[in-house]
C-alpha cells in the first residue's frame, strides 16, 4: 500500500516534470529561432554581398553598416543626429499624448462639443498628415519645431480618438453609482473615468512610440539640418546608401528601446 502511494507521487511529479520540461523546451526553441533567423539573415546578406550576387553599393552589407556607424561616430556628428531625432521624438510623443488626452477629456465632458467636432475628427483622422508638410514649414519655420509639429500631428488624432473611446465606454452603471454617492463631474472624471482608462492609455503610449518615430523621420525629410531622417535623406542624395542603411539600423534600435521602456506599463495595467 505504502509502496503504491509512493509510486503515485513519483508518477505525478514525473508528469509535472515533463510538463515543465516541455514549456522550457518551447521557450528555448522560440528564442533559438529568433536569434538564428537574425544571424542567418545577416550571414546570407553578407555572403551575397561579398560574392557580388547583390551589389553592395545599392544593398550595403552588415559589415559595411557597422563600419559606417563607426566612421560616423568617429567624425563626431553621429551623436548629434541621434540626439536630435531622439529629443524631437520624445517631445512630440509627450506633447501629442498629453494634448490628445486633454482634448479627449474636453470631448468627453461635453456631448455637444463632441457631436459638433465629430465630422472634423473623422476628416482629420483620414487626412494624410504629411500633406500638411509644406504648410508646417511656412507656419513654424524649418528645423526642430517643424519636425515636432509633424510628430504631434501624426500622433494626436489617434490619441484623441482612442482615449475618447475609452472614456465613453465606461460602464454607465459605474457612473450611476458615482452619481448616487453624490459625485460631481470632476470627481467622476478623476476618480472613475481616468483611472478606468489606464489600460487603454498604456496601449496608446505603445502605438505612439511607433507613430512618433514616423512623424520625426517625416519631419526631418521635409526640412532639417540634423537627425537620422536628415542623415537618410543626405545619404541618398550623395548616393552613399551605406549611410542610409546605417541610419535605418540605428532607428530600429532606438524605436525598439523606447518600445521596451513603454511595454512593461501595458503588461502591468492589463485587465
Amino acid at each position: 500500500m505504502k509502496r503504491k502511494n509512493k509510486n503515485k507521487i513519483i508518477s505525478y511529479s514525473k508528469a509535472r516534470k515533463q510538463y515543465l520540461k516541455r514549456i522550457k523546451k518551447d521557450k528555448i526553441l522560440v528564442l533559438f529561432w529568433q536569434i538564428a533567423l537574425f544571424v542567418l539573415f545577416l550571414g546570407i546578406w553578407q555572403l551575397l554581398a561579398d560574392n557580388g550576387v547583390i551589389d553592395p553599393f545599392f544593398f550595403s552589407s552588415p559589415s559595411r553598416i557597422v563600419s559606417t556607424i563607426i566612421d560616423l561616430a568617429n567624425e563626431g556628428n553621429l551623436w548629434i543626429h541621434i540626439w536630435t531625432s531622439l529629443y524631437e521624438t520624445i517631445i512630440g510623443f509627450i506633447i501629442a499624448t498629453l494634448l490628445g488626452t486633454i482634448i479627449a477629456i474636453i470631448l468627453w465632458w461635453s456631448e455637444k462639443i463632441r457631436r459638433i467636432m465629430e465630422p472634423y475628427l473623422i476628416v482629420l483622422n483620414s487626412l494624410p498628415k504629411i500633406a500638411l508638410g509644406p504648410m508646417i514649414i511656412f507656419w513654424v519655420g524649418s528645423g526642430t519645431w517643424a519636425t515636432v509639429v509633424m510628430c504631434v500631428l501624426i500622433c494626436i488624432v489617434i490619441t484623441t480618438i482612442s482615449m475618447l473611446n475609452a472614456f465613453i465606454s465606461c460602464d454607465s452603471d459605474k457612473i450611476l453609482l458615482m452619481k448616487s454617492m453624490h459625485a460631481n463631474k470632476f470627481q467622476i472624471l478623476f476618480k472613475l473615468i481616468l483611472p478606468n482608462s489606464i489600460p487603454e492609455f498604456t496601449s496608446v503610449l505603445k502605438i505612439n512610440v511607433g507613430m512618433s518615430w514616423v512623424g520625426t523621420v517625416m519631419g526631418e525629410y521635409l526640412s532639417s539640418k540634423a537627425g537620422l531622417g536628415y542623415l537618410i535623406n543626405y545619404g541618398s542624395q550623395i548616393l552613399k546608401l551605406d549611410i542610409v542603411m546605417a541610419s535605418i539600423t540605428l532607428l530600429c534600435i532606438l524605436a525598439a528601446v523606447m518600445y521596451l521602456l513603454v511595454s512593461p506599463l501595458e503588461k502591468k495595467y492589463k485587465r
Partner: protein, 251 residues
Amino acid sequence: MKSFLEFKNVKYFYQTKENEIKALDDVSFSINEKEFTSIVGPSGCGKTTILSLIAGLLFASEGEIILNGKPITKNDGRIGYMFQRDHLFEWRTIWQNITIGLEIQKKDKDPEKLAFAEQLLKKYDLYNFKNKKPRQLSGGMRQRVALIRTLVLEPELLLLDEPFSALDFQTRLKVCDDVYDIIKSEQKTALLVTHDISEALSMSDKIIILTKRPATVKEVIKISFHGQTPLAKREDKEFGKYFEMIWRNLV
C-alpha cells in the same frame, strides 16, 4: 407604522425621437421604515425607472414621491444604490473602495465615519482583506463589499437593482442570506427590484406586483414566514403558496 417612502400617483413618460413612451401610469404605494420590500413585474415594466426616480436621477412627469417626510426633488444623497454587478474599482483596494463615498463627500477625514467603515468591515468578516484588490476576492465577498460601500454613507433607503443576478446559483443563495443579514442587522429600509419571484419571496416583508408597461401597481402582498433567513424561508411550506399567488398575478 408611518410610511417611509410614498409614491403618490406617479406617472413617467420616456421621450424618444419617435414618440413618447408611457413607462409608469399612476403608480401609488408606500413602504414602512425598516421594512424589506420587493417590486416584481414582467421584464421591461419599468422597475429600474422606479429606482431611478427614487434616487433622484429621473424626475416624475406627474405625481409625487416622498421619502421620510421630504419630497425627492434631486439626487440628494439620501439613497444607497446597489447594482447587478458589484462595480468595485479594480485599481482601488477594498478599503479605498468602501471609503470612496466618504472621499466624494469630503468626509474621509472624519474619524467617526472612518471608524464606522472599519467596524462594518470587521463585523462582516472582510477586515483581513482590507488592503487586497477586488480581483483577489470571490464573487460573494465582492458583493458584500459593494453593500458595505453603500452602508458607509448611512443612506436612509437602500435600493437593490437585481443585486444577485450576476452570480451563479450556489453563490447567489449564500450572498442573498449574507445581504439580508447585513440589512436587517443594520436596520435599513430596503427596496429590491427583481424578476426572480423566489428571491423576492425569501427576502421581503412585502411584495409589490406591477403590471406590464405602462406599469401600475397590480397587487401588494404581505409576506410572513416562520423561518428567519432567506434560505430557511425557501423551505417553509407556505413558500409554494405565495409563489403561486404571485406568479398568477404576473401572467
